[in-house]
């Protein structure tokens, strides 16, 4: 794991167990992410990808041998404190505040900037997501799925995160929108953000992530370069 001593991991997950009430869904999941790196959690529906992300941010019950973000042990931290350390989360269901306007949705996500980077502002976000600019005053409930997905990402960026957990950003979107999404995510990477992507769409994941973590029934069964995973799948036919 000391592949790059100059660039220590920003997120270290080790031995993560996650639960829905009495039912355990994720068993001893471990992986690390470095600044600027994009890691894809891949696997079938129900393999535990979304659950892993929810557990990291603290939205469901969890236990872990270690859960370190930006040098802080976040195991006992409430969700909002983890978010304030700079870990963004974009949920699968998008969970847009449909009663609020687009601009108000962005306002909910606003957090002070840490470090020396330029703070994200609505104006900067509207450059990346021009569709949102046109509907800033509109109720977020009256947007298409793709627009809502863009808003969900933009809203998380308003918190000026150092890493983002992206849960199935391509789900249910048209190929054209998926392509726009990929461009936006690559843009975030260039900005130095670490990205953990949960994705069933392996082609989309491969476009963004260089590393893949394969989950099967809540257990990690592969962790390595994306290319190796694709090759393995190809070999298996």
């Amino acid at each position: 794991m000391t592949r790059d001593a100059e660039n220590p991991p920003i997120l270290e997950v080790s031995g993560l167990d996650a639960f829905y009430g009495p039912a355990q869904a994720v068993f001893g999941v471990s992986f690390t992410v470095r600044p600027g790196e994009a890691v894809a959690l891949v696997g079938r529906n129900g393999a535990g990808k979304s659950t892993t992300l929810k557990a990291i941010i603290g939205l469901i019950e969890r236990q872990a041998a270690g859960l370190i973000f930006s040098g802080h042990d976040i195991r006992a931290m409430p969700t909002h404190a983890v978010a304030r350390l700079g870990l963004g989360y974009v949920p699968e269901e998008r969970r847009i505040f449909t009663d609020l306007t687009v601009a108000e949705n962005l306002e909910v996500g606003r957090l002070p900037v840490r470090g020396g980077r330029d703070a994200w502002t609505p104006a900067r976000l509207y450059e990346i997501f021009p569709n949102l600019a046109m509907m800033a005053g509109r109720s977020a409930g009256r947007m298409s799925g793709g627009e809502q997905q863009m808003l969900a990402i933009a809203r998380t960026l308003m918190g000026n995160p150092d890493a983002v957990l992206l849960d199935e950003p391509s789900e249910g979107l048209s190929p054209l929108i998926v392509e726009q999404m990929a461009v936006a995510i690559q843009r975030m990477q260039q900005d130095g953000l670490a990205i953990v992507l949960s994705e069933q769409n392996v082609a989309f994941a491969a476009e963004i992530a260089t590393r893949a973590v394969l989950l099967e029934s809540g257990v990690v069964t592969f962790d390595g370069p994306m290319a190796d995973l694709l090759q393995r799948d190809h070999d298996a036919g």
Binding site: G21, L59, H80, A83, E104, L111
Partner: protein, 638 residues
């Protein structure tokens, strides 16, 4: 729903003249303004915390008492309107701070608890505050000063209309504008509205929920306090004002849509006018009219006029119902046989007083068991169980007094009356779920209560019905003891059989996942309606037995405190165990019998007990026993 105190129209000839209509309209607006100020606080708190705060009425009452206390010295300084306004503001702020204390000390611990426990905790607080207020300010009403500069009346087309009521209308408008600006033009408001929709997502975006909740409680409590303080020039502060306003505020919130401030405003306007003009059409049925409006709105639009449908339950909480319900074991039968043998032998050793207590315990145990059947097995959190119990009692009482029937047919009519009421109410209730269902059970129970109080010709009003005595052969206490024991045990046995019948299983399936139960072909709504009928019949039988044991009936049997008593029994015994209701009924009733003569603070004790159980031992007595004596776990009474 109290009729407008200003009854100017009664002084003029009540024709529908323009002046009359206009003054009634203004009366309605003044009522609406008062309602809105209180209800907006309740709806904001619910929106953010998802807790229906029963103690909101207590905060209103505290606001009134604080204002009464403050106004005298303030007006001594200068008898002027600004001093009066200062008194209002300070009373609101003090109440707001009390709300903050309540959030930080109590509510914060129960945000992740099941709804039933949340409701019970805030109701426990209602009981505690009632006794505290009596202790601090005494049991008598305290009249507040009139507002300087706002005394007297103005003329509306020749009809006098109180100046102070115009002031109340203006305050209602000001509060609406202020709250609107706060919600729609500040970051706090944006966060409150976002949290109303999805508080977990708000947390994931880095917003500290605790602070947001504290802020919401401050705002909600301050509005309640302002509402109470505004009331004192019109009505004296009294220790009973909490429940009255609470029901009003609930109705407004539920009709408007829980969590929606514009909805609360709309509903307050509707109810204000309904009260103002309803009192002309049907002077004695205003209570019933308002609750009927609520029932109609909930049936047509369960989420209220401007509310949003409740999101599918995303949170993971411990089940509120029976868990691990297994068929009776041989050991369980032995335990039950042993307990029954002791109860049958009891008259050999017990004195008359012990027998009287035992009779009451059996009756309450049957009624509580019926509620446990609804909540534990059906997941149907009923806050109005007293309705079926009371209607059973009234059914028996009226059969004897009005129809001239004997005890035996009356005891057949009692469960029928309970079942019939449950069928009628359950028809509407069963269509809802979660907190809306709980609120509708409360509302329909209040309709029954209102009928009990207002329908004097039939029910005898507050005096109730007296002289409901058992038949000659059962008049002996020991005989009535055996009769009660036999019928209660039979009722409980039948309900237990139903728990283990396919209907019981289907009901549990619907409780655990209505969607999946539906998908495997179960008619969830029909199952729930039937559950209400079964529970209503059992509670009705209990009510009938109770009527004959007491000899008299009055509307308190139908009232909210009686419903809360049943819930407290379940809580005390243990919500997750079949035997919990029985143990809880016995424990609470014996405790009450023992403690009540020793103290005039029973309500405070009961409230503290409820809060304590939820915070410290939510598994109740049976849960506690099973935990400490695991060997009972398989063989205990089930």
């Amino acid at each position: 729903m109290s009729p407008p105190r200003n009854a100017a129209f009664t002084q003029v000839h009540p024709t529908m003249s323009l002046a009359f209509v206009l003054t009634q309209f203004l009366n309605g607006l003044a009522g609406a303004a008062s309602l809105f100020i209180v209800a907006s606080g309740l709806t904001i708190v619910f929106g953010v915390t998802r807790i229906v705060n029963f103690a909101h009425g207590s905060l209103y009452m505290l606001g009134a008492y604080v204002a009464v206390t403050l106004m005298a010295p303030l007006l001594d300084v200068s008898r002027s309107l600004p001093m009066f306004l200062l008194g209002l503001v300070v009373a609101a702020l003090v109440t707001g701070l009390l709300g903050v204390a309540m959030e930080m000390l109590l509510l914060r611990r129960i945000y992740r608890s099941p709804e039933l426990l949340q409701l019970l905790v805030t109701f426990g607080l209602v009981l505690v505050v009632q006794d505290l207020v009596i202790r601090v300010w005494g049991p008598l009403e305290i009249l507040g000063p009139r507002a300087p500069g706002l005394k007297g009346a103005i003329s509306v087309l020749g009809t006098p209309f109180p100046t102070y009521d115009l002031f109340v209308i203006a305050m209602g408008l000001a509060v609406f504008c202020g709250v609107w600006l706060l919600l729609f033009r500040t970051r706090f408001g944006v966060l409150v509205r976002a949290a109303t929709q999805d508080r977990d997502m708000v947390a994931a975006l880095g917003v500290n929920q605790a602070r947001l909740f504290t802020g919401a409680l401050f705002l909600g409590a301050a509005l309640a306090g302002l509402g109470g303080a505004l009331q004192i020039p019109r009505a004296a502060a009294s220790p009973q004002m909490d429940i009255a306003v609470l029901t009003d505020a609930f109705v407004v919130t539920v009709i408007g849509g829980m969590g929606s401030v514009p909805g609360a405003a709309l509903a307050a306007l509707l109810i204000g006018q309904l009260n103002a003009f309803g009192i002309v059409v049907a002077p004695k049925s205003t209570l019933v009219l308002v609750f009927l409006l609520m029932a109609v709105v909930l049936v047509v639009r369960p989420q209220g006029l401007l509310g949003r449908p409740e999101p599918l339950a995303l949170r993971v909480v411990m089940p509120e119902g029976f868990i691990g319900l297994a068929p009776m074991t041989a050991r369980g039968r032995q335990v039950i046989a042993g307990v029954l043998a002791v109860l049958v032998a009891l008259p050999l050793v017990a004195d008359a007083y012990t027998l009287k207590v035992a009779i009451e315990v059996y009756v309450l145990a049957l009624a509580a068991f019926a509620l446990a059947f609804l909540i534990g097995n059906g997941g149907l959190v009923s806050f109005g169980h007293a309705a079926y119990f009371g209607i059973g009692a009234y059914g028996a009482g009226l059969a004897v007094k009005k129809l001239g029937l004997g005890m035996e047919p009356a005891l057949v009519l009692a469960p029928l009356a309970g079942a019939l009421a449950a069928a009628a109410f359950g028809f509407f209730i069963a269509r809802l779920s979660g907190i809306y269902l709980a609120m509708l059970t409360l509302a329909v129970a209040q309709i029954a209560y209102a009928a009990g109080v207002q329908w004097v010709d039939v029910t005898g009003g507050d005096n109730g019905i007296v002289g409901v005595w058992p038949a000659r052969w059962a008049a002996n206490r020991v005989v009535y003891y055996y009769l009660t024991l036999a019928l209660s045990a039979a009722g409980i046995a039948v309900l237990t059989c139903v728990l283990h019948a396919p209907f019981g299983y289907a009901l549990r399936a619907a409780r655990d996942s209505a969607v999946r139960a539906d998908a495997i072909g179960l008619d969830v709504v029909a199952l729930r309606r039937l559950a209400f009928v079964v529970a209503g019949a059992a509670a009705g039988l209990a009510g009938g037995l109770y009527a004959f044991s007491k000899g008299s009936i009055d509307p308190t049997l139908l009232a909210i405190p009686q419903s809360v008593d049943f819930l407290a029994m379940l809580l005390m015994g243990g919500l997750q165990h079949v035997a919990g209701a029985l143990v809880g009924a016995a424990a609470l009733h014996v405790l009450r019998d023992f403690v009540l003569p020793l103290t005039d603070m029973w309500r405070m004790l009961l409230g503290a007990l409820i809060i304590g159980i939820v915070l410290v031992a939510p598994q109740g007595i049976v849960g506690g026993v099973l935990r400490w004596a695991p060997r009972f776990a398989r063989g205990g009474p089930s």
